[in-house]
Symmetry: C2
Subunit: 353 residues, 2 copies
DNA sequence: CGCTGATGTCCCCAGCAATGC
DNA sequence: AGCATTGCTGGGGACATCAGC
């Protein structure tokens, strides 16, 4: 079909004629023309394929530099069916946990040569999630990573054929999504163990919101560990992660007497609790021991510096990216990686009784 | 050219023959075939163009639903040269300020129907920025939004033809980038005015790092406002935004005596300062007044609750997106929007002397 | 002949302009 | 005039083919 070839040639000629035109960028044909080879040879150079003579390669590379040629991702995506792009769906920003995960998934993706399209959601309702996912699919993402704090978010994706792999960062295993996770349950048990080892028996809990899987796992860890120690518990109050709710629930808790220790489901609520305790004239850790969760940057400078659980968000980001890549290479790989362990950071808000 | 049309037809036939094949997605031709129209008619339906009979439109829409057809963004981008995608370059995460800006730019972009590819940077060095920007260009973004905290980041982009509009979120006007901003200078002046009105004269400052434009503007506001009040100042100590640096610099500051009031360049360092003051047995606000900057969610529950400057990140995100859209529609529009004003939040860390 | 290095053709998928009924 | 169709375009990769030694 010579007509086609000629059309290409004419176009290329036009381009070199008005190369100075604003906004016009070089194509692979322009490069080929300048280097005196076919566009296919340029393609081989671009993709590091064999069968290109070093001298030819050199010429092509010079032409690329000269024209400041950048391959069109759109054209490449069209033919390879690979966009080198990931979708990231995150609700619950700007909390420390989700934000950190987003940050580190981004970093791991960049290392793997992937771009990340992030959609932040105000709520985790089905329709919202659905339209976010559809937008990502339209943008041609190769996989979707879902930062799921609420159970509802995970459920919304279930029984819904996306067409691309779904990796969920979540603390419960639900649905068919590939899951990467931090072991919140064991971390909560470790926090309670720390208090038990200090001799505490009256260990209360301020939990996170009901829909949150993280909150649920931390609550379960607290309950189970106390149960094993032969200590009966009642249902704990639930906050919304905010310092204000920690303050309110802490104030309410003090109405019924002074607890020996409190395990709080995140650092911000722990801060609110510290505030409530200070207002009530109670000293930490002399009167009450407090353990938080997350190890936010501020925690080391609370009054007193907070004992808390530090999570491995960096590792989690890597796990998520590894899961994506594994699934992209091999559809069958449904191996869930080991949950990432957490680490207790003992500061000055806990002490032995 | 009938050959071409026939090739299309054959391909379409193949598709419907193995429609169950894994990973194969429907194209506009499959839809056209099922609806008994040409692909162009489908295109008109997709783009809400006139000249489609309601009955035809109906048939096409049914076919789209039936095949779960999603237009290929890659193909569309190739022909329209519009990717509906924005690039966002952010250094300095996960600090509260930059994180908030990223979040709200994302939201505003989503409202405008744009996807956002975010790249997070470990440092703001030239080569890092450059490769980040190149990656975004390859991904075909229509514009780049740069969250620039450091002056060096802004300078790195200068004199460098990107090929796409650049919008900088930054507190200094540098280079040719379109700029949106929060007026840090006026905000700092307001913070100092608050202390002056309370009768303070000995008003110190703990500044942010030297390269930071935000830190510089806040420092300048503090210096100028005090100068106007006839109060001489010396160069303030500089932290790195972290609570630890606030603690260290606060401790050092107390070696030279107890100040009347301190204006701290961000809330986290203010927290460190509160910690240092508490350790020295000083009371806030009885002995020392403290004003922070940012109004992070924790600030209301510091001990004591912190007086601080709240910035309008939501508005800033909208400004950034508006600037992008304006520039995309009209290359000449280089109007910088008015800087967003900030608001003082008076809590319990300041009081009259 | 057999291998290396380079070329030609078709295809990916959607939108636009011109055309046809 | 209203509605639908045909042909071409965009940038680059896969594959088959070809030239040279």
């Amino acid at each position: 079909m010579r007509a086609s070839a000629r059309a290409r040639g004419e176009r290329a000629a036009q381009v070199s004629a008005n190369g100075g035109e604003r906004g016009r960028v070089a194509t692979i044909f322009d490069v080929a023309r300048l280097a005196g080879v076919s566009h296919q040879t340029v393609s081989r150079v671009l993709n590091d394929l064999p069968n290109v003579r070093p001298a030819t390669r050199e010429r092509v590379e010079n032409a690329i530099r000269q024209l400041r040629y950048v391959p069109s991702q759109a054209a490449r995506a069209l033919v390879t069916r690979r966009s080198r792009t990931l979708g990231l769906v995150a609700a619950g920003l700007p909390d420390f946990g989700p934000s950190s995960i987003v940050l580190h998934v981004n970093e791991s993706a960049a290392d793997a040569g992937y771009a990340v399209i992030t959609t932040t959601l105000a709520d985790a309702l089905g329709p919202t999630l659905r339209s976010a996912a559809e937008m990502l699919i339209r943008q041609n993402v190769e996989a979707i990573v879902l930062i799921a704090t609420e159970r509802a978010a995970l459920d919304a994706f279930d029984g819904w054929e996306l067409g691309v792999p779904l990796v969920a960062v979540a603390s419960e295993a639900r649905g068919r999504a590939l899951r990467v996770t931090i072991d919140q349950y064991r971390a909560a048990r470790a926090a309670v163990s720390h208090l038990l080892e200090l001799g505490h028996r009256d260990i209360r809990h301020i939990a996170g919101p009901a829909g949150s899987m993280d909150a649920e796992e931390r609550l379960r860890g607290w309950r189970d560990r106390l149960g094993e120690a032969g200590i009966a518990v009642v249902d704990p109050p639930r906050g919304d992660w905010s310092p204000q709710s920690g303050f309110d629930l802490g104030t309410a808790m003090l109405q019924g007497g002074v607890p020996g220790a409190v395990f709080v489901s995140n650092d911000q609520m722990a801060l609110g609790l510290l505030h409530a305790l200070a207002e009530a004239g109670l000293r930490v850790p002399e009167d009450v021991s407090v353990v938080g969760f997350d190890d936010i940057p501020e925690a080391a400078h609370f009054q007193p510096p907070l004992t808390t659980m530090r999570q491995d968000f960096v590792g989690l980001g890597r796990d998520a990216m590894a899961a994506v890549l594994a699934h992209l290479q091999d559809e069958q790989s449904t191996e869930h990686p080991e949950p990432r362990p957490s680490q207790i950071i003992v500061r000055s808000s806990t002490r032995a009784v």
